[in-house]
C-alpha cells in the first residue's frame, strides 16, 4: 500500500512516465501529419538550390559555380539577345515596388474612409469591392489589352504596374480596413479635441496603430508584382523590358539544350528577395487577422 503511494508520488516512476508519454501521443500524430504535407515542399526548394550548384542533371554529380555565371556575364541564348540579369531584376523590382506603392497608397486612404467615414453608398462600396474578386482576373485580359493599347501603355512596365496596382487594391483595402476598425474611437476623439486636424490625426494616431497592416499589404502587393507572369507575358513583347518571371519560364523550355543547372540558379536568385522580405515582415504578418 505505502509502496504504491510512493510510486505514484515520484515523477520518474514507471507509471507516471507512461502517463506522460500517453499525453504526448496526440502531438506526435499531428506532427507526423504536418510533416507529410510540408517536408516534400521544403525538400523541393532544397533540391532546387542543390541542382543550381550541380552539373546540369536533375541528380548533380559535381559541384560547380558555372550555372551562376549569369550574374556577371549575362544570360546568353535566351530568345535572341544576351540578357543582363541585373536589368531583369530592376524590371521585376519596378513592377513589384510600383504595385506596392500604388496599392498601399490607395488602400490606406480608402480603408480609413470606409472604416471611419459615414457616407451614403458606404455599404454598397464595401460589398462591391469584394465582388471584384468574384471573377477570375484572366477574363479581363483582352479588355485590358485594348485599354492599354488605346492609352499607349502597351509594352510598358507602367501599364502592368497600373493594372496590378488597381487590381489588388480592393482586397488590400479590405485588409487594412480591419486594422482601422480596431483603433478605439476614443483615440480619434482625443486627437480631435487635442486640436489635431484630420490629416494629423491620420498620420500621428492612426498610422502607427495600423502599421502592421501596412506592412502586410505592402508585402502582399510586392510579392504579387514580383511573381506576376501572365500579364507581363501578354502585355510586354520587348525582351528588354522582360522580367525574371518570364525569363525563368523561357529558360525552362530551353532546358533540353543546357540542362537544369541554369534554370535552377536563376530560380534561386529570383527567390532571394522574397525570403529577405519575409524575414523582416514576419512579425507584422503574425499580427494580421482577416
Amino acid at each position: 500500500m505505502s509502496s504504491l503511494m510512493m510510486q505514484r508520488n515520484e515523477h520518474k516512476s514507471l507509471r507516471n512516465r507512461a502517463l506522460r508519454l500517453r499525453q504526448g501521443v496526440p502531438n506526435v500524430v499531428s506532427l507526423v501529419v504536418m510533416s507529410v504535407g510540408s517536408v516534400p515542399l521544403l525538400l523541393m526548394y532544397v533540391w532546387m538550390v542543390v541542382v543550381s550548384f550541380g552539373d546540369g542533371g536533375l541528380v548533380p554529380r559535381h559541384f560547380t559555380f558555372q550555372n551562376w555565371s549569369f550574374l556577371w556575364s549575362g544570360l546568353s541564348g535566351v530568345g535572341r539577345a544576351n540578357l543582363n540579369i541585373w536589368r531583369l531584376l530592376a524590371n521585376s523590382l519596378a513592377i513589384a515596388v510600383g504595385e506596392a506603392v500604388l496599392q498601399v497608397g490607395g488602400a490606406l486612404f480608402a480603408g480609413y474612409v470606409i472604416s471611419r467615414g459615414r457616407f451614403p453608398g458606404r455599404k454598397v462600396l464595401l460589398q462591391s469591392t469584394l465582388l471584384t474578386h468574384a471573377f477570375p482576373a484572366i477574363t479581363g485580359l483582352i479588355a485590358a489589352f485594348y485599354i492599354l493599347n488605346a492609352v499607349g501603355l502597351i509594352n510598358t512596365l507602367a501599364g502592368v504596374i497600373l493594372l496590378k496596382g488597381f487590381g489588388g487594391m480592393p482586397m488590400a483595402t479590405w485588409i487594412i480596413k480591419g486594422f482601422f476598425d480596431d483603433v478605439p474611437r476614443e483615440l480619434e476623439w482625443a486627437s480631435k479635441i487635442d486640436s489635431g486636424s484630420r490629416l494629423k490625426t491620420f498620420f500621428h494616431v492612426f498610422l502607427p496603430l495600423v502599421w502592421p497592416g501596412v506592412m502586410a499589404i505592402s508585402l502582399f502587393a510586392f510579392l504579387s508584382g514580383w511573381g506576376e507572369y501572365v500579364m507581363i507575358s501578354v502585355f510586354i513583347f520587348d525582351d528588354r523590358v522582360n522580367t525574371i518571371s518570364v525569363i525563368v519560364r523561357n529558360l525552362y523550355s530551353d532546358e533540353a539544350a543546357r540542362g537544369f543547372g541554369v534554370v535552377m540558379a536563376v530560380s534561386t536568385f529570383y527567390m532571394i528577395p522574397c525570403l529577405i522580405l519575409y524575414f523582416f515582415a514576419q512579425k507584422s504578418l503574425l499580427k494580421m487577422k482577416i
Binding site: 476623439w189 482625443a190 480631435k192 486636424s197
Partner: protein, 369 residues
Amino acid sequence: MRIRLQNLCKNYDSTAPAVRGLNLEIKDGELVTILGPSGCGKSTTLLMVAGILEITGGEVYFDDALMNYVAPKERNIGMVFQNAALYPNMTVLDNITYPLKNLKNPKVPRQEQVERATSVARLVELEDLMKRKPSQLSGGQQQRVAIARALVKKPGLLLLDEPLSSLDAKLRMSMREEIRRLQQELHITTIMVTHDQAEAMSMSDMIAVLRDGVLQQYGTPDALYRHPDNWFVASFLGMPSMNSVDCTWARPGASLKVLEGGWTIPLPGSVRLREDRIREGQKLILGFRPHESVVSSRSVAAPEGAIGGRVTVVEFTGRDKLLNIECGRQMLKSYVAVDFPVAEREEVWCGVSSFGCIFDAESGENLVR
C-alpha cells in the same frame, strides 16, 4: 467658463432619443456630475458638449457664445476618457505635449511645450515617468497622463467621461481626491459623467441625475440626497439604497397605512406636504435611509408608527451593524449600534425617524415639500 445647455436633444438614427430637452446651467469653476445608469444619455451629452457628436436640437453655450457649430479643437476643452485613450506609440511626454504641438496661433515653441508638460506632470506626480510608453504604465498612471494631457492646454472646460471606472476600488478613492484637488487648485469648470453615485456625491458641487435622456433633478449632493424630487433619484443615490414601504393614506396628509401588515404610521406635524397632489386612496411609497430608522426589540410594546419585522441577516460593517429586516414581502435595511443586542431570526420593531420622502407610487414624485 460658464456653460449653458438649453433644450439639448440627441437622436441616433430614428431610435428613441438618447437625450431629450436637457437644460443645465453650470457656473464658473464648478464641478458638475452627470449621473445616471448606463444608457441614460450621459456620455452622449458630454460628447455633444465636446463637439464630437452632432447636436440634434437645442443649444450649447460657453459663456455666452453659441458652440453648436464650433469644431472640438476650437472649443478650448480638455477631455479624459474611461480607458485613458493615450496614443500608444508616443511616450508620456509626447502624449502630454501633443495638444500643444498642434496649437497654431500662437505656436508654442518646443522648449515651452516641454516646460508646460513637465509642470502639469508634476501636478499629477508623473514627472519621473516622462520617457515611458503608455503600455509600461499602470491603469492609474495612464489615467493621470490622460488628465495631464487634458490640462496642459489650460482649457476653459474639463470633460471627464467615467474617468475612474476602469480603476480598482482603492485607486478610485485616491483619484477622486486627486481630481477634486486639481479642479479646485486650477479653478477649472468641469463636467464629469459617472454611474457611480458615491463618486458623484463625494466630488461634485452639483449633480444632474439623468434617466432615459431626461433630467430628473439638478442640485447639490446634499439636496439630492435629502430631498430627492422623485423615487428614481432617491433610489439611485445612497448605498445601501433607500428603503421603500408600500403605503396608502390612513388619513390623507396626516397618517400612512402600510399595505402589508396594516401598521399605521402617523406623520409628524413638521412634515409639509404638497397638498394639491394628495388624493384619497393614493398608492404611496414611504422612503427612508437605513440610518433614518429606530430598531427596538419586540419584547417591548410597539413604539408609535413602528413596523413589525424579522431580522434575516446581520451584516457587520465595522462602525455599526446593518440589519436586513423582513416585513412580509418587503425587505428593509436598518443600521443599529454595534452593541445593539440582536440575533438573526429575531422579531423586531422598525420605526421611521425621518419623513423626507413620501412618493406617489404611480408618478414617482415626492409629495414632501
